[in-house]
Amino acid sequence: MTKIKAGVTGWGSYIPPYRIKASDIASLWGFDPYTPKAIWIEEKAVAALDEDTITIGWRASKYALQRAGVKPEEIGAVFVGTESKPYSVKPSATVIADALGISPKKLASDLEFACRAASEAIRISISLVNTEMAKYTLVVGADTAQASPGDVLEFTASSGGVALVIGGLDNAAAVIEDSYTYVTDTPDFWRRSLAPYPEHGEAFTGEPAYFNHIINAVKGLFEEGGYKPNDFDYAVFHQPNGKFPLQVGAKLGFPKEKILPGLVTPYIGNTYNGSALMGFAKILEEAKPGSRILLAPFGSGAGSDAYAIVVTDHVLEKRDKAPKVVDMINRKIYIDYARYAKMREKILRYRR
């Protein structure tokens, strides 16, 4: 493995306050009431009518810059990982960058790899920082996830985002020790151009996609870095529901006690590109310096990255500089299905 000289200088997250209970969705569409429990989803966050990936990403980025203590003009690249771009053609990254005062002298682009695009942005950022092509980069993972009304995906597809400032080792809240990526062509979940909602391969999304890719990425990290499960204090996996992360963790030898602190999907839903990163952000807000975190995002299509990340003393001075994940999980405005349908623009009507 190439020696990594990069870390997480700052982090921020944003979860909209609106919540719909999974039991309300199950009731409306006539699902077995046990269905949400079977995948462990209690409720999910819903973006307001005037929110999208850009506004969510902006808010998370603002908090990430506060924690990083970095001037916006020091950011040399802005990447937005999302599968819910407000524009098909027009970057989200440039709007977020301009609205934060980031200098025009930068790289900026939106990346797409289902829920894993922001993780790809982390890997690119490591390269930019390692080669000193950028002092700091801003990585945004944000989505307003789509789900066809009545599809089982509707239980979990939610809205939220996380932003990371990636920089050198000085002043890093967490140091990225090692990383490994495992990517193949696997048709488990897709959305065609102009299609409003994604299609998915039902059970096929599990074994050959989620489990196969995460397990191979983590095993690759272990083999090349000489790690074993006991070397990690926390394990955060992509969390399409509450059940899969515990299952993949068990297959890799992680007890649930190391997974539960970073498992947020049961309470806010799957924020797609924010999913694993939200759990990671929560752990940065709770872990002791010296703790080692396994982070393994996953994206359909399919691919997974595994990172070994060690928390430093700097995390303590940064935590209170912005709202925490748990603050936003606990901030709730409950809505019924009718309001949810309005907010997610699922009501067909004539527009003036």
Binding site: D50, T55, R59, V95, A99, G101, V326, D327, K342
Partner: protein, 137 residues
């Protein structure tokens, strides 16, 4: 700030709309928004442009049910008079809080939100609204 569906005007004003750029008068030491080249209080041109922290408090507010075309989906809309930390005041929409839970003196922070979406194919216009400050644990 009034929102006009003009890409050129929005582009020219993006610092004002996205980042709350305001003016500070070096002579009378007062701030105002939107920024101008001459002080609205003393007429001085000894002006400095600055960016707001985004933090403020609600001084007054009203709930609008008869919303104008383009904003009907947001009804009921809460419009507040916000006093910023830097001393200037502005009118803006307050979001993410039930009208009955808003009170004068409530702490708010500036948030980037969609202002107007121009039909199915036009531009999405972004700007600053205000949301309750998230309480930190």
């Amino acid at each position: 700030m009034m929102f006009e569906r003009s890409p050129a005007k929005i582009w020219r004003n993006r610092d004002v709309l996205y980042r709350l750029k305001y003016s500070y008068c070096r002579d009378c030491k007062r701030s105002f928004y939107p920024p101008r080249g001459r002080c609205i209080y003393c007429g001085s041109s000894n002006i400095e442009h600055r960016y707001s922290s985004g933090r403020g408090v609600v001084k007054e507010f009203t709930v609008v049910y008869q919303t104008p075309v383009g904003f009907t989906d947001m009804s009921p809309m809460v419009i507040g008079l916000i006093e910023m930390e830097e001393g200037f005041r502005l009118l803006a929409q307050i979001v993410d809080v039930k009208p009955e839970e808003i009170s004068n003196g409530m702490k708010v922070e500036a948030v980037l939100r969609r202002m107007i979406v121009d039909g199915e194919t036009g531009l999405i216009y972004y700007g600053i609204k205000f949301a309750p400050l998230i309480e930190k644990s």
